[in-house]
């Protein structure tokens, strides 16, 4: 493989994808090279190509009548990725794939199966969630090769050092599927990075050496990332290690399918109800068609951004054009007031709640859509309170043993009272939704109240990054950091992983056999490390697929490899999609039971690798890969 010339950061988002890059500068005495964002050529309308910094993560399966969907590098393409695919999503929704990334972390569907677009007509050729992600990455590769490499094989994106971001809340299987898509697209040198960390790297890169003034030993930085489709939290602690300031990711939140799109949908609903009421009062009938609803959603988003920005505007006008060529007379008018936005968005999604508030788990019909497990409680603040409470002790264990400032302050009040929640001292926002000053203030004020109730100081906001492109930029900055330029965040796996082993007890009808959870990878297992799981042997049948239940925990930080849990609290362990070992018959006879031990490692790419190692190997280094991303029954 040739030496890469660029580090490339790719933000493969639920709604948008972006690519940032920087030249690799091996001489450390020279200033760090600037990080730039690639303008991605894409179809923006039938027959029209434009370069945009964001590539909408939408996939349109073109119909015969559309003709070829030509790109500068492919005249005969039969599908579209990007802006045109998104707009076709309004005209021909059954042929468009949206939110492929959310399907990628859906444990109860076959993520390698051709299931998208969900509910498409018979003649539409379906693809898998993995393939959709692969097509988005492929588009970036082709765009890069067209714009930057221009035919030079040395400069091709597949030869560059690529950092691909995933949500911090992605489990091991979803991470593996993401890399599978990247390899299928043709990337070779790949590393995964968690999105909130990427956002923090972007901030570090922007601050240069100044960041050490804003973040000191003992600080805990809460990263709040609310994008179009998902909400992701992480906490990064600044600790002292070997006399130096080091950064360590100490907590990650759960995967919450809740984002700006939900907010726009709700707002559109509010406006629609208002228009219907007005029409009724005037004795008219009004019915919005699909296009008008989508146009309304766009208009509501624009109005929301205007009202939730820092402007003093009290109202924002909304106008929605009809579908025909007659515009005047068929255009619908409405107005969105500051009160309505405040009620729907600020109080609806970011309500002021107490520190002990928790997300409700009842179904909310208005926010669900067939198939994806959307968050049941839209209150971001409740999800945040739950995260901080679950990780109340996260700062105790951080490396270096330096007493974190947050813990010290709560200690002052009463040495015996353990803090009820983690105390962040800094807060960094990311994602399009958090561009709103009103929403940032709301979150900060909630945090301040919670901290005050525990006698901890109010967190300070870290500012200055472009919230749409920070993840891609930060990923590229991380690529440079890996090459010795700048500080790195240590973290390792954000969960501990367990294999469920059924106890050998006589079957009792109606009673599930007790399950022991065997820890196979500890919390914070770092990339490039491996460990054999001691103790328990597993029996695997040759030539048959053997499944095991699989669990993850983001809170059990102290379990070492080999720890066997007989019981646990219901919110400590989450059951993930099962894992599967398929032993080839070679050298052994079909049906034999082979005793194996498990071996876990975190690859250089950043994925978890589980292997079954036979106790009596037939050849040197004999081992079989354990499949993580299996469809649950």
């Amino acid at each position: 493989m040739s030496t890469p010339r660029y580090v490339v950061g790719i933000d493969l988002g639920t709604t948008h994808t972006a690519l940032a890059y920087a030249l690799i500068q091996d001489d450390p005495t020279k200033p760090a090279p600037p990080v730039e964002v690639l303008g991605v050529p894409q179809l923006v309308a039938q027959g029209t190509v434009e370069s945009r910094e964001l590539l909408p993560s939408f996939f349109y399966v073109a119909h015969e009548s559309d003709g070829p969907q030509a790109l500068p590098w492919d005249k005969k393409r039969t599908y579209v990725v990007g802006e045109h695919a998104r707009t076709r999503g309004v005209d021909a929704p059954a042929r468009v794939i949206t939110s492929a990334k959310s399907w990628l972390c859906h444990p109860t569907v076959d993520r390698r199966g051709a299931i998208l677009p969900a509910g498409a007509p018979e003649d539409v050729e379906r693809i898998s969630p993995v393939e959709a992600s692969w097509r988005y990455l492929e588009h970036l590769i082709e765009a890069w090769d067209h714009v930057v490499a221009k035919g030079d094989p040395e400069l091709a994106l597949s030869k560059q050092s690529v950092v691909l971001t995933v949500p911090a809340s992605f489990d091991a299987a979803a991470r593996e599927l993401t890399t599978e898509a990247a390899y299928a697209a043709g990337l070779e040198e790949l590393t995964l990075l968690e999105e909130p960390q990427a956002a923090f790297y972007a901030w570090l890169a922007m601050r240069g050496d100044q960041w050490r003034k804003d973040v000191k030993v003992g600080d805990a930085v809460l990263v709040v990332d609310v994008g179009g489709g998902t909400t992701d939290f992480s906490v990064i602690a600044a600790v002292e290690k070997d006399g130096e300031l080091a950064l360590e990711r100490v907590a990650v939140g759960d995967h919450i399918l809740l984002g700006g799109d939900n907010m726009d949908l709700l707002l559109a609903h509010v406006v629609e109800q208002k228009m219907l009421a007005e029409a009724e009062a005037a004795g008219k009938t009004l019915e919005l068609d699909r296009w008008q609803r989508v146009a309304l959603q766009h208009a509501a988003r624009a109005a929301k951004e205007k009202l939730l920005g820092d402007s003093k505007a009290k109202t924002a006008p909304i106008a929605i054009a009809g579908k025909g060529s007659k515009l005047v007379g068929s255009t619908l008018r409405a107005e969105l007031t500051r009160d309505e936005v405040t009620r729907a968005i600020v109080d609806g999604f970011f309500p002021v709640v107490d520190a002990d508030a928790r997300p409700a788990t009842r179904a909310r019909a208005a926010l669900t859509q067939l198939g994806l497990p959307y968050a049941q409680d839209p209150a971001v603040t409740k999800h945040l309170a739950a995260l901080l409470a679950r990780h109340a002790d996260a700062l105790e264990k951080v490396a270096g043993g330096a007493a974190p400032a947050a813990a010290a302050t709560s200690g002052k009040k009463g040495a015996a009272a353990a803090p009820k929640m983690l105390h962040p001292t800094r807060i960094l926002f990311n994602g399009g939704v958090m561009k709103s000053g009103v929403l940032r203030e709301r979150l900060v004020s909630c945090l301040t109240t919670w901290m005050a109730s525990e006698g901890a100081p109010a967190p300070l906001m870290l500012e200055g990054t472009d919230l749409d492109l920070a993840v891609a930029r930060g990923a590229a900055a991380y690529g440079l950091a890996r090459r010795g330029r700048g500080v790195r965040i240590r973290g390792g796996t954000g969960r501990a992983y367990y294999v469920g082993i059924e106890g050998a007890v006589p079957a009792i009808p109606g009673l599930e056999p007790p399950v022991t959870a065997l820890c196979v990878a500890p919390f914070g297992m770092e990339e490039g490390t491996a460990s054999e799981v001691p103790g328990q042997e597993l029996g695997v049948v040759v030539g048959e697929k053997v499944r095991f239940r699989f669990f993850g925990s983001s809170v059990r930080r102290k379990d070492a490899v080999g720890t066997a849990l007989e019981r646990w609290k219901s919110d400590e362990l989450d059951e993930l999609a099962p894992i599967e070992v398929d032993l080839p018959a070679e050298g052994r006879s079909q049906g034999d039971v082979v005793p194996v031990r498990l071996r876990s490692s975190v690859t250089e790419v950043g994925t978890l690798l589980l292997e079954a190692v036979p106790l009596q190997p037939r050849k040197k280094d004999e081992r079989w890969k354990v499949e993580l991303s299996v469809r649950a029954d």
Binding site: V49, A70, K326, V328
Partner: protein
């Protein structure tokens, strides 16, 4: 360029576009234009030939690429802001409120299209109404003298219109084989 009938198509299009919105949103300006007597005074005409070189159009040979650029621009304004729909509609019988509602669609869409594709700068950076002094030689393409025009420079006067300059223009690339004359596809719902 003094005879308006000789203005290239693109320039006329831009001019129509800009004047259209000024008339719509600036009552005073509209009144000035409306009253023929006032016309000579109300002339701070936006000079905005986009960089798509209008000059070759004057040459005798057929200027096919230019036409495509104009068509693309129209398609863009139609796509983003329903521009052609709006201009082609007879608005005389509608109430101002209806026209205003439609104008919002056209304004927000066309404005987005304009800002995404053309980087606009004022020709003069001073505030309108400020006193300015112009040294010789005068850039006739960028500055127009109005009112009591006589004598030699330096000229001292009041800035009536700051002018507009397209500092940068990025048009979409048309895919080969795409019929640029189709500004908006007909739509048939199945």
């Amino acid at each position: 360029m003094s005879d308006p009938s000789s203005l290239p198509f693109l320039t006329r299009l831009w001019f129509a576009y800009v004047v259209f919105f000024r008339v719509l949103f600036n009552g005073e300006y509209a009144a000035q234009l409306h009253s023929p007597k006032a016309l000579p005074e109300a002339k701070p005409e936006p000079k905005l030939p986009p960089k798509a070189e209008p000059k070759p159009a004057a040459k005798p040979e057929p200027a096919a690429p230019n036409q495509d650029a104009a068509l693309q621009l129209l398609a863009l304004l139609q796509r983003e802001g329903r521009f052609v729909d709006f201009l082609e509609e007879d608005v005389t019988s509608f109430a101002d409120a209806d026209i205003g509602a439609a104008a919002r669609v056209v304004h927000s869409g066309c404005r987005k299209a304009l800002r995404d594709h053309v980087k606009l700068e004022p020709v003069r950076t001073e505030e309108e109404g400020a006193r300015v002094t112009l040294e010789e030689p005068l850039d006739a393409a960028a500055v127009k003298l109005t009112g009591n025009v006589q004598g030699k420079g330096p000229f001292s006067g009041t800035l009536r219109h700051r002018g507009w300059k397209a500092a940068e223009i990025t048009m979409p690339t048309a895919v080969a084989g795409h019929d640029a004359r189709i500004l908006a596809q007909a739509e048939v719902e199945l």
